[in-house]
């Protein structure tokens, strides 16, 4: 039997005993989700890379920190990743742009939309708009939306990752959804108004 067929618990046991293959299998299985979570939370590939590295270094050096009775391995990894992202964002805060953080991302998305009218209808633009709007959310709402909507973790796993009760995750998710929708609606309205004006000018 190869290590790829083993359960996560078995892989973790082997990894703790020094089996490099077991660690490699665990890394390849979960690194994508961790990297994407960090990317969605930070908007920076550099931070996402650093976070991924730190998360798996933690797993490698302190495997006993993962308690199977508390939650699943993805929940644990996302929890470590979340702490690392917040730490790195705090560290990088002095180097972030001059525009206030909350408005920056949406403004950037808006400017992208205005620069090239032909890309407005494309899927990529919508995706970018959503990503930037998510980035503009306060961290406590952003993390639950990324975990529950983007990573599709259960409420229980998200609660483990965020180290808070399920009820808190639920209420934050509710408020986060409302805030995200409001922002997206506001952006799409502004953009459609701008396009109408441009179209009128063109026809005039």
């Amino acid at each position: 039997m190869t290590v790829t067929n083993l359960s996560e618990a078995e892989l973790l046991r082997l990894m703790a005993a020094g089996d490099e293959d077991a660690f490699a299998v665990l890394y390849r299985k979960h690194q994508g989700a961790v990297f994407r979570f960090a990317l969605l939370m930070s908007g920076s590939a550099g931070i996402a890379e650093e976070v991924t590295q730190e998360v798996f270094l933690t797993l490698m050096r302190e495997p006993s920190r993962f308690d199977t009775t508390r939650g699943t391995l993805p929940a644990f990894l996302h929890g470590v990743a979340r702490n690392q992202v917040l730490r790195l964002l705090k560290r990088e805060r002095p180097y972030l742009p001059l525009v206030p953080a909350a408005e920056d991302a949406t403004e950037a998305a808006r400017s992208v939309a205005r620069e090239d009218p032909f890309r407005e209808c494309t899927r990529n633009e919508t995706i970018e708009l959503v990503r930037q709007t998510v980035l503009s959310l306060p961290a406590r709402y952003r993390e639950v939306i990324v975990l529950c909507d983007f990573q599709e973790l259960s409420l229980a796993d998200a609660a483990v990752a965020l180290n808070c009760p399920v009820g808190t995750v639920n209420s934050r998710l509710n408020r986060g959804h409302a805030l995200l929708l409001r922002k997206l609606c506001a952006l799409s309205e502004q953009d459609s108004n701008a396009h109408k004006t441009q179209a009128l000018r063109c026809f005039a």
């Binding site: 890394y27 994508g32 990317l39 590295q53 990503r131 259960s154 959804h177």
Partner: protein
Amino acid sequence: MSCRDFEINVLELARERLLDANTRAESLAHAANCSRCAARLEAARALIPLARAVVAEMDEAEAPKRVEDVLLTAFRQGTVAARAARVPSWQRLALLAACLALISTMAIVWLWVGSPKRKQQAVSPPPAQINLQKPPDVAVKLENEVREEGPTPKQHDRAHRRALRRRAMPTEEVTEFFPLVEGIDPKSYEAAQIVRVEMLAPALTALGLPAGPEIRTAPVKADLLLGYDGQVRAIRFVR
């Protein structure tokens, strides 16, 4: 179904995931009657496709290969270091036992040397009873004048300190004991008291000892050997 129960299922409903048929029906019925929960379901349903589109776009996004290389190198180094640091269990036990023995020895020494009682003893001198053995500051040649007993740790410690004190002090020169009572050999005394005194010339004369002109003015230091009855048996002079 309450709003709280609905909230537990709202994500699964919006994701169109498999849900118990009864639960699904009850949830939808609740949403039909509760505007707040209906709005929540609508919001989730509106956002889930957008989120899935973003995730699909990012599906290829992964950590670069160099991260894996770095981690595997770190894993190898960590494993090697851990193996090197790993000690067999019996060696660990032996090490632990040695550490415990060392700590307990240090604790005993500390208690013995540094306890308040000991310090008090060191500060206050013993009662002014004449030592039955040799006087502490005199290099006596009498070997048999003291009773020999097995040294207890206390006596051993006292002897050790005495030796140290003797080393620190200038050595005295003493003569042999001169018997003052005829027919008694001072060396045969097993238990006796020695009293350090300073005697003037008349006292020496009273004992029948000659007093030269050089000691007429200054007192002479001497040790008196007393018997059980308190009578002086012998005398020796100290310089």
